[in-house]
Amino acid sequence: MYVTHTFELPASTSTTVREELQFLPPSKLNIENVSKTFKTRTGPVQALDQVSLQVGEGEFVCLVGASGCGKSTLLNIIAGLEKPDSGTVTADGLRVSGPGRERLVMFQESALFPWLDVLGNVLFGLKMKPHLTSKDRKDVARYYLELVGLSKFERSNIHELSGGMKQRVALARALAPNPRMLLMDEPFAALDALTREQLYGDLQRIWESRRKTIIFVTHNVREAACLGDRVLLFSPHPGRIREEFIIKLPRPRDINSIHLAEYATRITGSLKGFKNGNGHIAE
């Protein structure tokens, strides 16, 4: 059903590089009764209340909700960047206790390092793999730059790139260490509509060629319906998963298709029904 591996490796590719690029089985994620409360100046805010969620291997799950509903907090907890007050997160049966490169995060604003060029950024995660030689690392990094269509820009400085290109580099950087799960925190929110549409296509293509489990946080309902196998709706104060939509549309999906619009309308309808759901929802 899925196209595998759209890029041919050059014949000279070393075996370590081939191993490095092999397809690791995507992760399985299990979240049980996770709660998290933040202390703020106006008092405690319960960001997550008894949230449970199972994500299958290679599944593309979108978390949708108004701003402040705790979906980003959940993502950070899955990433290991924050600790839950109670409840557990296990990835492939192992408890998540801290950040690690099996679960890479791609952030909303580009978190690319301005002191490194494009190639240097993609290499960063690979430097933590001591068994690779520096040539191997470059081969791997270039493979991913080609995957996101930025081979020609490996020597560019970050500030020279457009917003869309930056997020492509960020995607390449997140993919390079071959994580089994990709966590994306509104990665396309700051981009213009046209660039975004292009990236929806790219992301679906890349996901199909390099099967990963993806958890994608967004407040854009259409985006979620376009990308996700499943769309989970969050309600704020306290953050809870309220509803689940399974999107049964063939891939690759076009953001402008009528079937997708039907799903989006239904999802938006549900979101509007939530109490306290007074945050902004993009259609």
């Binding site: 950040p99 690690g100 390092f113 002191w115 960063f124 400085n157 260490p177």
Partner: protein
């Protein structure tokens, strides 16, 4: 090219005006010697070796002290940024001491170390160290937390994050601190050399001092000129390329 020509014309014009003022005989030539006199002094000082000797001694003192200041200041600044306890103690001390004109270290250095190289070095280190500490501390505190988080998820942690993320991210601040430290060190060393004659070597400051004692205005002006030249050279050959690199990478030029 056009800018270079303008620049040359400007300095040639300055010398010309200077020469015209001397020819107008408004002031005694003892107080304002002609450019030719100054160049003549430089020629003799170069040929008998005094000038090179003095430059070598001064620059060596400066570089040794400066490097010690950097090697001490950058880690210290990282530490004050990392631990609030150190920020409130050493950081506050550093902030206080940067406001102290570095010339003020000279009397203390003399009493502690006597008329020795150690006194010179101490003054230079004190001039450099504190501004580097402050700049590094400020730089680290301005690093966006998202860089750290991104690095954490890519498997970097602890010392590795400090070395490969925090330090380079703070680099623009550190460079401006290094530049300030350089200026402070240069000023304080000149003050120390003018104040103190030490037998282990005559630096530029001492030549300046003897120029005054001998009423040799050509020497005074010539040495001042050399001091300015060294300052400019350090900026153009070291700091300017580094800053150009930073501007290019970060996209902060113009």
């Amino acid at each position: 090219m056009k800018r270079l020509i303008f620049s040359i014309l400007f300095f040639a014009g300055l010398v010309l005006i200077w020469d015209l003022v001397v020819r107008a005989r408004i002031w005694s030539p003892v107080l304002l010697p002609s450019p030719v006199k100054v160049i003549e002094y430089l020629q003799t000082a170069v040929s008998d070796g005094t000038l090179w000797g003095a430059i070598l001694i001064t620059v060596r003192r400066l570089l040794i002290g400066y490097v010690i200041g950097l090697v001490g200041g950058i880690p210290l600044g990282l530490m004050t940024a990392r631990w609030n306890v150190l920020h409130d103690t050493i950081g506050t001390l550093a902030l206080g001491l940067t406001t102290l004109p570095s010339v003020c270290w000279v009397p203390l250095a003399l009493l502690w170390f006597g008329q020795s190289e150690a006194a010179m070095l101490f003054v230079v280190v004190m001039g450099t160290l504190w501004s580097v500490v402050i700049a590094t501390d400020t730089g680290v505190r301005h690093v966006p937390p998202i860089y750290r988080r991104a690095a954490l998820t890519m498997g970097s942690k602890g010392f590795h994050i400090w070395l490969t993320v925090i330090l380079p991210a703070a680099f623009p601040f550190i460079v401006s601190g290094m530049k300030q430290g350089w200026a402070f060190a240069w000023r304080s060393l000149m003050a120390a050399e003018i104040f103190v004659t030490i037998l282990t070597g005559f630096g530029l400051g001492q030549l300046l001092h003897y120029g005054r004692e001998l009423n040799a205005m050509d020497q005074v002006i010539a040495i001042m000129f050399i001091i300015v030249l060294i300052g400019l050279l350090a900026d153009k050959t070291f700091f300017a390329p580094v800053e150009r690199f930073l501007h290019r990478r970060w996209g902060t030029s113009q």
